[in-house]
Amino acid sequence: MTYDPTYQEGTSVAFPELAMKGMAPPEEVENGTDSDGLAAAGEQIDSRIALSERGVSGLYRGTSGDFQLELRVDVDGSRPMNRLSGDLFRVTGATTTYFGSFIVNSPTVTRTASSVTIEGLGEYTWSTIAPQVKVTMSPAAPATIQFSTTSGSPGSIYICPFVSSYFRSVQWEQDSVVDTVPFVSYNTGSLPQPPNSLSRELTVSKAYAEAGIGLQTAGLTNIVDTSASGTDTRWSASELHAAMVSNFSLWEDVPQWKVYLIVATSYERDDVRGIMYDQQGLQRQGCAVFYDAIQGTDAARQRAQLRTYVHELGHCFNLLHSWQKDLADPPAPLGPNGGLGDLSWMNYVQNYQPPPPAPGGEAAYWANFPFQFTDSEIIHLRHAFYRNITFGGNAFGVGAAEIDPEVVRDRTEDNSGLKLELRSKDVYAYGEPVVVEIKLSTTDLRGKRVHSYLHPDDEMVQIAIRKPSGSTVLYRPMIEHCVDEVKTITLTSEHPAIYDSAYIGYGREGQYFAETGHYQLRAIYIAQDGSRVVSPTLTLQVRSPYTATDEEVGELFMGDEQGQLLKLLGSDSEALKHGNEAFDLVLDKHSEHPLAVYARLVKGINAQRTFKKLAVDKVVKVREAKPRESVALLSSVVDDSTAEKGVDNITLNLAMRRLARAHKETGDLERAEATIDRMVEVFEHKQLKPYIVQQITADAEAEKAELNEA
């Protein structure tokens, strides 16, 4: 099913004016001030004031069906950019997931004494059939946003009460290292400034407030004790990142409107004034300023400190240096003189060079700098697509991202009480079957009832795969399993997680890991209440073959038939004859190669069972099990894997149980039971969690009981 929040069936309204009658008054939000005396996000606006007086710009929020819209109206007020923009989030169960963003550049604004209408054609991060946007505002009523097709057919409608005069609200936590003095404020009139710049007491928060961004100090302020580091007062980017993870009290490794700044002593490189160091994992969540390079109480140094703080936080908002904007992905236009002429927090004072013959350099910068961002930077701060700006969103320098499959989106809110994880080897050989382990655990101390269908073939867990080439695909099973029966389990503190492993190398689109390079995977668990629990990103590498033999063996695993055989764990089907021949070749010619264990696994499991074929005369013929062949093959798999060079744990468990059955089928029940006992010993020695070992032991007892049945 394709969702389009601008065109959901059953939510469009032909006469929005009628829908506005009887609506609740604007939503009340928190009202408080930070230490600067600024109104925090959520001013209570007196709706009795005529619209033409109070203006309409700001943040609005509303829902329609499964979707929540955050709308930013920017057509009046301080430095209006004449834009509309919005971010849409899908709410399913207890989880909220970002869906997409849009922007309307240069909308048409029509004002009367009692209403304001703003409309225009939007640009979207997804393909929509209803790109036209019309916002209607009246006193004492929320804003109404009507999407429609270009031919005028109504799409979805959202009723959005006013939320804040800030376009975005951000929580900012600042820590400082012992013996540093954090910057507080600077009066712009202390030193000569441009005549058109108002003298004012500027804090970092106020600098961003002037751009329409509410920067609220939040979290716990720490003084970081560095006594243990002795004379080493220099910080590396890695150390700064680790400090953020451990000291940022608002830290979560998810995209969120929360940012961290640390006032550190000095960088590992002399005289660097500041750094946005967070370029690993979910990036841009923290920055640092270096006190040793920027300290000073005189006006010039205080002015420079203000600039450095605002500048580094600007990088967290994904603002590049003034001359680098065309290096963004996608490129953004440069200001005058290749960007060097920008009078902006994001330029370097010494690099300032307007088009000749105007003077440049530090003196010229300060003589002309109004302590503001440029228009294009303000448009980014207010209206950038969500993932291009939110902390922990796109990587630094990456703009509106490529569109992932709809199922894989950053969580913005997850109250499901569940956590999903993907695990795998870090590196796979070329051709090696990619098997991932899926773990679902509870974060709810009261326990959580969940369905236990973790295998992606059951389609209650989906896995998205971003390939080295950059394309992202969804793993689709070769065969759909319809799970009509509800199989649930309660996760508790004693038994907090369930696991499964899945071979995802081959599916409906063929081989998913045929390219060498780095892959990124994310899984989504669809809970019974509709919540979509998303795993962190797993990165794995498929390495290039080291030798000609590696390449030959890898190629023998790469065919469609081989993929199907791995998925089916073997088959006698004539249609997969060439795949079986490829595995036979691996065992004949490359029996010592590490990947041969997978060929033995597939062949061994297939040999352990009977195989029914429907012959041309419509008579079922049964190929009998070949237990001795199975024992030989699976014994080798087990020996390799218990020596840590074969298959993963869950597959090993499967292999040992099938080996036990094969032993029984040869008539050797004693050997069959010994295999099960050995299985328990093997996993006891693997240092697994106690409840997992208990489960394996219980399963082993059940298996032995089954083996003993006649």
Binding site: Y267, R269, D270, D271, V272, R273, G274, I275, M276, Q279, A293, T308, H311, E312, H315, L320, H321, W323, Q324, D326, L327, A328, D329, G338, L340, Y348, V349, Q350, N351, Y352, Q353, P356, P357, P359, G360, G361, E362, A364, A395, F396, G397
Partner: protein
């Protein structure tokens, strides 16, 4: 190949320059060797010595330094791309601040923004260094992944040297 195979020359108009006026400085890097040479112009961070190649300017008067790059603001420098490399034929010269198509070169801000407030005789000099300890010291801090391997290979082909320009004397009246 050593520092004698490349030269870096600064030129300015012969006439005297006025107080408070910009001083146009032309920079020329020339291949003096008998073989083609890969070189990179002034890229983001070159003037601050944040990344290689370093192009380090200085302006002096009466033995005192009156202008040179300040300490770097922050180390976020843009990517080095294959397009930024220039293959100089034997005898060929290029201006490292004037980009060829596709390259992203920057001016030497110390020179382009300098305006003397007093008359006098000023000395301009520029040092070009490619003597990085590691090739990674040439790379940018974002957006570098796309061409990383190819760029590292090309960096290895740039001769390692440090060359100092002539000392260009400019009279300001």
């Amino acid at each position: 190949m050593d520092g004698s195979d490349l030269s870096i020359m600064l030129h300015s108009p012969e006439e005297k320059q006025g107080v408070g006026m910009p001083i146009p400085i032309k920079i020329e890097v020339r291949n003096l060797s008998q073989q083609s040479v890969w070189i990179v112009g002034v890229v983001d961070g070159s003037e601050d010595a944040i990344r290689y190649p370093h192009y380090l300017p200085r302006i002096s008067m009466a033995g005192q330094v009156v202008a040179e790059p300040p300490p770097p603001e922050d180390p976020l420098v843009g990517p080095l791309r294959l397009a930024d490399f220039r293959l100089l034929a034997p005898g060929e010269a290029f201006d490292p601040t004037n980009p060829h198509p596709g390259a992203k070169f920057l001016p030497i801000s110390t020179f382009s923004s300098f305006r003397s407030a007093v008359p006098g005789r000023f000395e301009f000099s520029l040092v070009l260094s490619t003597q990085s300890q590691y090739p990674e010291q040439w790379l940018g801090s974002f957006g570098q992944d796309a061409e990383r391997s190819a760029v590292l290979e090309r960096i290895a082909q740039v001769p390692r040297l440090t060359i100092r320009s002539n000392v260009l004397k400019v009279e300001v009246i």
